[in-house]
Symmetry: D2
Subunit: 313 residues, 4 copies
């Protein structure tokens, strides 16, 4: 039997200790500690780890932390949406994102060329600069070959970047494939289209990429999913695991509720009914904004793995 | 100045009248009426209407209503995720979905072959039957041509169905294109992959389909978006409109909050900063489960358009 | 086994029929129908019905509907917060509430004397007029006796009003007690305080009122709770039922989630662990804004009870 | 102009540094840092600080931290609900709360005498023990005087306890009044009622206590509110400040959304329209479970105040 234990502040307390203590605090506190425990367990058994996130998280500045955990060998397969890929490239090329507020005058922002994402803004100029970058990258890709499965294209783009805070760069360097099932749903999609207007034989092969994610693990391997937010990214990772026998470990960190039957809010329990996670799986769901919950959870994990010599740089 | 007016029950009150009265009731009541007004306005000016929804809504049974509004000419372009397409086909082929609860024993469900989606279940048998259907459909498509933009493939599948409650059937019949930017993210993706294993020249051309959605409207046309839920479907529709000068009308019906900066929770105001909706756009956001809010809103719209002779069967 | 049945629009469909059909639609649709069924069941067995709501719902314009179901004999005991009582009195005295938006310029509103509640506003002038009303009412009460249990005070105020849309008026007329455990938490509290400054022997007896709610039902009676929103009102009703053996029926309609362990989000399942609802209780939780979900649900109930001659005017 | 700055893990990073860094991370990360800044500002100008929380937070184990910030002089006035007071006393008397899960078998829990609050449980035995404690305390109070304003009663109870982790104990010791506008809404209310059955002249004077909170600050003083969760506690604090000219600083930490017009979800902007916070007030709203967000925020505040010698033990 585990009991609630009152939390107290001590000067200089570090993040790991706070999260350890949250394990004896109710509601989402204890859920957060369980999530950390589940990720540590995944790593200790050598599970193949599927990591998913949505594009707004890249915009938020968690990008550097995502790149870091890739470089430290924490994750093996990534699934995300194209907005995050665009913004990773934009940041790698020096564009800056602005911290603002949730309730600005949006018409005024539009006139200033500020495009709002929650309490952040991306300038129209950054998107214009991205056009040149994207067209140049696509041209180089096309010179190599005409037909590209998405994850191979993203790896090649990663190799063109040079920024240790870049998700694509670190993933390419560490052979972590990035899957993006809706590659055309954003500015990059538009640039792919523009290029294809003049190069009809240029093709993105999304069906082949389904094979790639399917063969990224096997029935025999232990598998874990670590899903930040929901949507296509989350579904794609757990569906791929399902086809290979289901995940053994699952951590969901989200703001969505299960009450509307959406994928974004689907619980780790619901996944059991599908065999998406195994019936004896180690599972944890944490409700809250990942800009707060994810750093806490993963810092705790990194400290513990570091102590045991389980991360490498 | 508009004032709150107390709501009272009258025996036999119809849905249209209730929604009209909610226009004088605070919070989401008045938002619902504003959403109906905005959709009526879209139709009266002859705007091109982009309609988006997520797959769980198809599962829920709203499918018949979606098919009906397509057949009545309410919407011009559809964007959705592949799960909804699969389930539309499954239902058209006679599969049944089970009404259950949000808190069942999920391991027991798994053992019975019941896959849970919120408080609904789809049997594993339904998915097995779908395999035969899907392979047979893909074979016929392949015999026509080797390379398929997604929306053309979905139209062709619609023509193979014969169910007036089917979204794909009605869309095909009424020349309403269905876009699905993440076509491989589900069972259909798996079947496309299986087929491609033996037919290497079979290809889904997602980049060409980006051209198709881009050319589905022009800068000069009035445009409206009606987005149920969020994710890739919502983003794809409003991004396409943005590239053509932004939407003039926007209705968002969702459970997501704007506080995490996600696309699912992004408000109609946020869209203004991007030019995704025009600064003078007619906009409304309704927070709530669409299984309740959408029928109410669209019944009110249909009655009003019907009275004015603006819908055709 | 119950199956999903596609929803279709028919011209002139009434509210009852729509809600009946939502019983075969997933997610919150089916929950809404279950809530209606549960309330019908409560009434058929003659259960004592505890009805709770929060003050913003009175402001919204649901006030008239609440008054109507009291007059129709649907509920036996009411628990609410003082804001709703103030606004019921203000409306009975002719004050008007303004329909606005969720994102106004709040500093501008302040300067105009508009006090915002979501997308509604109450003028400062209305509060000023309320001061005279309140002081005059308290004086009359004081002339009758010095020490008032809250529910007796509220009944006496109800008898001073003359508005068929008033909750207090209808409750007083139909001998439905209104409990308000935090009677001082609002403008009325301030006016009680002002009066007491000059009349030290004036006293609100909240402990005696606990006896009143406790004796409002017995162990032997069937009991049902119908809770709109959460907070003190919800807790007070189910806690009172708990002390009398627990409720046999429970319907919760709320926007709050269970994930933070709050009373507002506490589920009907959680209530079972306390004996707050009996283990075999007929229960339903509906997630969504009550300005939409409550009219739908209760219209369905009223039509069904009306058909069976179970409501009286 | 402030820009997003990528977050990176460093071994041993302490909580203060993480929160500082979240100030350059989007969405709720930056909101959390703004909340910490606002609390630091309150303290630096010597504002009177109103601190509110709901009972589930006491249950969670944040109780020790609440007691600690009282002992460190961070807050001047407390408003809460009676459940938190009961659980503070129970813990001070040695009762233990159990850490469980959000989806247990609630009928089984009931049979074992475990009463669930989210993912925690309180045993029926703890409530039984509380009965003796409460009756004994009330008897001692009654021997002192017959009529008790709530906050005076709670101070007297605090003086009967001897536990440095107790909120009531530390508040009594440091002359921080605790207001509880709905004192009867819980087990304590039941015990007050039982006692009054035999001692008719025993009285809780809630109207007098409204005077006490009103006179806890003046028009001239700077005032700050720090509200965890919503409900009566939040409303009572900001309403009291409103009557004294409005708060100069406001921090809201909550899971509730503003879309239903409830007090729990009301934003700091909405409060401006009322004059509940001044138009130039320093304000921040953080969305998320306080078991995670509050320790992070307040640890950052405590470290900064400690560095400047602004907290005392």
């Amino acid at each position: 039997m585990k009991y609630v234990k009152e939390l107290k502040w001590k000067p200089g307390m570090n993040v790991k200790e706070l999260v350890d203590k949250l394990g004896s605090i109710g509601f989402q506190g204890v859920q957060l500690k369980r999530a950390a425990d589940t990720v540590v367990d995944m790593k200790k058994v050598g599970a193949k780890v599927y990591f998913t996130f949505t594009s707004n998280m890249v915009t938020s500045g968690l990008r550097g932390l995502f790149a870091q955990i890739i470089s430290l060998g924490l994750v093996d397969v990534i699934v995300t949406t194209v907005g995050g890929i665009e913004e990773d490239i934009m940041r790698a090329k020096g564009e800056k994102f602005i911290v603002g507020s949730f309730n600005p005058d949006d018409v005024e922002l539009y006139e200033k060329g500020y495009n709002r994402v929650g309490n952040l803004c991306i300038t129209t100029e950054s998107y214009e600069n991205f056009e040149d970058t994207a067209q140049s990258m696509i041209r180089k890709l096309y010179e190599k070959k005409k037909v590209w499965p998405t994850s191979e294209l993203l790896k090649e783009i990663g190799l063109m970047l040079d920024d240790e805070n870049s998700i694509l760069y670190q993933a390419a360097k560490h052979n972590v494939p990035i899957f993006c099932p809706a590659i055309t749903d954003g500015a990059l999609g538009f640039h792919l289209f523009l290029f294809k207007q003049k190069h009809k034989d240029f093709m993105i092969d999304v069906v082949q990429d389904f094979a790639n994610i399917l063969f990224s693990s096997s029935q025999d391997e232990k598998k874990g999913v670590l899903c930040l937010g929901g949507g296509v990214s989350k579904h794609h990772a757990i569906f791929s695991c399902l086809l290979n026998g289901g995940a053994d470990y699952a951590v969901y960190m989200t703001t969505a509720s299960h009450t509307s039957g959406s994928m974004s809010g689907a619980t780790t329990n619901e996944a059991k009914s599908w065999g998406k996670v195994r019936d004896d799986a180690n599972i944890a769901t944490v409700i809250g904004d990942v800009t707060i919950t994810f750093p806490l959870m993963i810092f705790n994990v990194l400290e513990r793995l570091n102590e045991e010599g389980l991360i490498h740089e």
